[in-house]
């Protein structure tokens, strides 16, 4: 009872603080930030109280906006996502203080919409009524739009905003259909476990599509790269780290509450595997660091969906315990991805802040001028590549455990589970390559352009949130048992049959810790040795060319060239080049551009065709009366012929 009261008070405080932070945004940056911190902290306390406490929290109000009683519910699953909202909500607000200062002209607007976004995402997690869910969902989508288009002086930013808004509303349309059909079948808009009504199972497809547009799995990811690349970096961080997780939340939530079709598990695993491999392949081929990170989010959503799909599959085969492992892995990866992707976007933001460009081919050698950013980016890169001893490995390890245990049962579904594990491993190796490329091209070598040479380390206001996130990544990595309890709580909420499972991370913790210690020791040893012997500096071997320049380095394109070739059929890379000619070539270049294939090769041409046909149809309306009468006669004649044929047959 006391815990319930605490949670209620904390959620109330969080709401009030975030509203105040939004309201104070234009008056005082400090007061607004303090309110944001207080609000997210209160939300975090409430969420942790549910995750570590005895039971769920529920509250029904007499207020009835939209004709439905206002019902709030915070169970293990919602609280699990709420933690992420609060952590990244706070970290991003802190980062924005220095990254998006008043001189941008949109800092106040940014703070207001930021707090509104955090609040609306919290509302999405808390409400348990279809009508209110849609309201919160729409508010959340709109806040995202205003944040993405914060810097709306640029046409690219505005276009990205429109694309996001359009894609978002396509998804919302599906969700309106989903909730309306659900309410019609159940006779109530109130949401809750309804596993006992098998006739509503097909509605899962609507939910999968509607939430999938937000989650951004392949091929619903069309809005994601441009939105994440063009938004300010702290916005990219929350969009990529948290906002797309709301789509995952929807899929997990309604996959758990509703009965699902038999094929659901296979389909979700398939979508997950396709997103994982294609997402990271596209990421590898990008030249814009933020686009790379955005495509990498598609991959991570795929990784999460593989776990969720395995859980759905296991639940439909008698609640096999390996499904619990896979779901735990997926949920842990939700947290992990939220943390390290925010860290990476903050790192990319620092680079952008220091050099003014997102093009990796214009950067290079930032290791020397931005050592902190480089180190923290490296932590994020190791985590995202799923390497031990960081948190990315812990989450993916659980998914692997689940998949392998599922495969070793040798039941009929193993044919779906085993390829998923192989594709997950493929995606992991490509992720390592992609982040070797990103880290290498941006931070190693020598600066390729003047802005890169003049880069400076960012201030403590930006480093502190990055450091906090990197610490969280490391702690979850070396001591994964710490997070097992909340994860297990969320898994138990999703499927009570899986609650109370033994902690599989128990064995992993010491191994990770040992590895971390070994890595740290090796690093220290190398550092000491290099200090003792001194570094010998000499030019790189230059093939006999006497004056090497900074442009004679591996570019991002050349780094990814071979792997891009493997996916040429999907990428449709656009090449432009002029070969060097003659003994003294004056100029030569080679440009590779990987378009957003689904958008540029499928959706845009289809849209253009529809537009062309519509324009052609406009020619029928020319204003010449006799022709209008001719249309009428022709229409009548066609109808007459139809009636005649109908009668004759």
């Amino acid at each position: 009872m006391a815990v319930g009261l605490l949670i209620g008070v904390m959620l109330f405080v969080a709401t009030v603080c975030l509203l105040a932070a939004s309201g104070l945004a234009a008056r005082s940056a400090r007061a607004s930030f303090a309110c944001t911190v207080a609000g997210t902290a209160a939300g975090l306390v409430a969420a942790m109280a549910v995750l570590l406490g005895p039971g769920d929290w529920e509250w029904t109000s007499a207020l009835a906006p939209g004709g439905e009683n206002f019902r709030l519910q915070l169970d293990g699953l919602a609280a699990f996502f709420l933690v992420l909202v609060c952590v990244v909500g706070c970290a991003g607000a802190a980062y924005a203080c220095e990254y998006w200062p008043e001189s941008t002209g949109s800092a106040a607007r940014g703070r207001a919409w930021w707090n509104a976004l955090v609040l609306s995402m919290g509302a999405v997690l808390l409400v348990s009524n279809g009508v209110h869910f849609l309201m919160a969902w729409e508010a959340f989508a709109l806040c995202g739009y205003f944040l993405i288009t914060l810097d709306n002086r640029y046409a690219g930013v505005r276009a990205a905003g429109w694309l996001y808004l359009a894609a978002s509303h396509v998804g919302t349309l599906a969700l309106i259909a989903f909730f309306a059909s659900l309410a019609q079948s159940l006779g109530t808009w109130d949401l809750g476990p309804t596993n006992d009504v098998p006739s509503i199972a097909p509605l899962f497809w609507l939910a999968l599509f509607g939430f999938g547009m937000k989650a951004g799995f392949f091929p619903c990811h069309i809005w994601l790269p441009s939105a994440h690349a063009n938004a300010p970096s702290h916005v990219s961080a929350i969009m990529s780290g948290v906002a797309i997780k709301m789509g995952v939340y929807g899929i997990v939530r309604f996959g758990g509450w509703l009965p699902v079709p038999d094929a659901a598990g296979y389909v979700v695993i398939g979508i997950g595997a396709a997103s994982a491999v294609l997402g990271i392949a596209f990421a590898f081929a990008q030249n814009d660091v933020k686009r790379l990170l955005a495509y990498c989010s598609v991959e991570n959503i795929g990784v999460i969906l593989i776990g969720v799909g395995a859980a759905l599959l296991a639940r439909s085969h008698g609640n096999a315990a390996w499904g619990g492992l896979a779901l735990a892995g997926a949920l842990l990866h939700v947290w992990n991805h939220g943390l390290f992707k925010s860290l990476l976007f903050f790192g990319a933001g620092s680079v952008l802040h220091a050099t003014g460009t997102r093009e990796m081919s214009r950067l290079g050698g930032l290791w020397k001028s931005m050592p902190w950013t480089a180190g923290l980016f490296a932590v994020g890169a190791v985590a995202v590549a799923g390497l031990p001893p960081l948190n990315g490995f812990a989450g993916e390890w659980l998914i692997y455990l689940g998949l392998f245990e599922g495969a070793t049962t040798r039941a009929g579904f193993a044919w779906a589970v085993l390829p998923a594990a192989i594709l997950l491993a493929t995606a992991g190796s490509l992720a390592l390559a992609a982040f070797a490329k990103a880290g290498g091209v941006i931070f190693l070598g020598v600066p390729r352009t003047k802005p890169a040479a003049g880069a400076h380390e960012c201030g403590p206001g930006m480093l502190a949130p990055m450091l906090a996130l990197a610490t969280a990544c490391t702690v979850i990595g070396v001591a994964p048992s710490l997070v097992w309890m909340p994860v297990a709580r969320a898994v138990g909420t999703w499927n009570p049959a899986w609650s109370g499972a033994a902690n599989p991370l128990f064995a992993l913790g010491p191994a990770q810790l040992l590895l971390a210690v070994l890595a740290a020791a090796a690093g220290a040893l190398l550092w000491k040795k290099s200090r003792a012997n001194g570094l010998r500096r000499a030019p790189t071997w230059d093939c006999g060319f006497c004056r090497p320049t900074a442009r004679m380095q591996y570019t991002g394109g050349s780094f990814a060239g071979i792997a891009s070739g493997w996916f040429a059929a999907i990428f449709r890379t656009e090449h432009k080049s002029r070969r060097p000619r003659g003994p003294f070539p004056a100029s030569a270049f080679h440009l590779d551009h990987v378009p957003e294939t689904v958008l540029d090769r499928m959706i845009r041409p289809t849209g253009a065709l529809i537009e062309k046909l519509s324009h052609a149809a406009l020619g029928l309306q020319h204003g010449r009366l006799p022709f209008y009468i001719l249309y009428l006669v022709a229409g009548l004649a066609v109808l007459g012929v139809y009636v005649f044929l109908e009668a004759a047959l």
Binding site: Q621, G623, L625, F627, V633, F644
Partner: protein, 220 residues
């Protein structure tokens, strides 16, 4: 029985005349002769109710006949002539579809109408009448006039011919619902006056011309 045969022969003769007038209307190169043709057709049609119900004439049928003859044969053509004079229009009809092709199309339409009427499931007492093919032919002719002529007045004539076709269909029902046919006659008058009085006047005022080709600037 013999009397009924005579009536049917007479009626078919009138319908035949109306069909001939259709072709004549299509071949008219000048507006006054077009108007005259349409007026004649209207009067021919006006006589038909009398013939159809010759054995039990009452005041209603007579009223229908008189109103039709007066409306289609005198009032509307008179108004058309007046409008033509008032608007000072050139007398050529200025066809989109040339006169000869129009006539050929009309002849083809008439043949089609006769063929089509043969295929329709008609009541036995209507089967030997030419009313249905006549009606279809008039409707088709009206459409050809509407599509193929550019001047508003010739288009009004097209409407009238089209309407005559519908009236012929209506005659099939005169026994059952004379009121409906009367209402149709009233509608004729309304349409005629509406078209003439309002539309022509507006076109004239807005464009200083009655050529509908100049109306294309209204299309958006």
């Amino acid at each position: 029985m013999e009397g009924r045969r005579g009536v049917i022969a007479m009626l078919n003769l009138l319908v035949g005349v109306a069909m001939g007038l259709n072709l004549l209307a299509l071949g008219c190169s000048r507006l006054p002769s077009l108007i005259r043709t349409v007026a004649t057709q209207g009067m021919v049609l006006g006589l038909m109710p009398l013939l159809l119900e010759i054995h039990r004439l009452d005041w209603r049928i007579t009223l229908v006949a008189v109103a039709t003859v007066a409306g289609k044969g005198l009032v509307i053509p008179g108004l058309l002539r007046r409008a033509m004079r008032a608007a000072n229009i050139e007398r050529e009809v200025q066809p989109f579809i040339g006169l000869m092709p129009s006539v050929l199309l009309g002849a083809g339409g008439t043949i089609l109408a006769v063929a089509l009427a043969g295929a329709l499931p008609l009541l036995p007492e209507h089967a030997e009448l030419l009313l249905v093919p006549g009606a279809l032919a008039s409707v088709l002719t009206g459409f050809i006039l509407l599509i193929g002529r550019s001047k508003a007045i010739s288009q009004v004539c097209g409407y009238l011919v089209l309407e005559n076709g519908i009236y012929l269909f209506g005659l099939l029902l005169i026994k059952a619902t004379p009121l409906l046919v009367e209402a149709g006659v009233l509608l004729d008058l309304t349409v005629g006056i509406f078209v003439l009085g309002i539309i022509i006047d507006r076109i004239q005022r807005a464009f200083d011309s009655l050529d509908t080709r100049k109306l294309t600037s209204l299309h958006e």
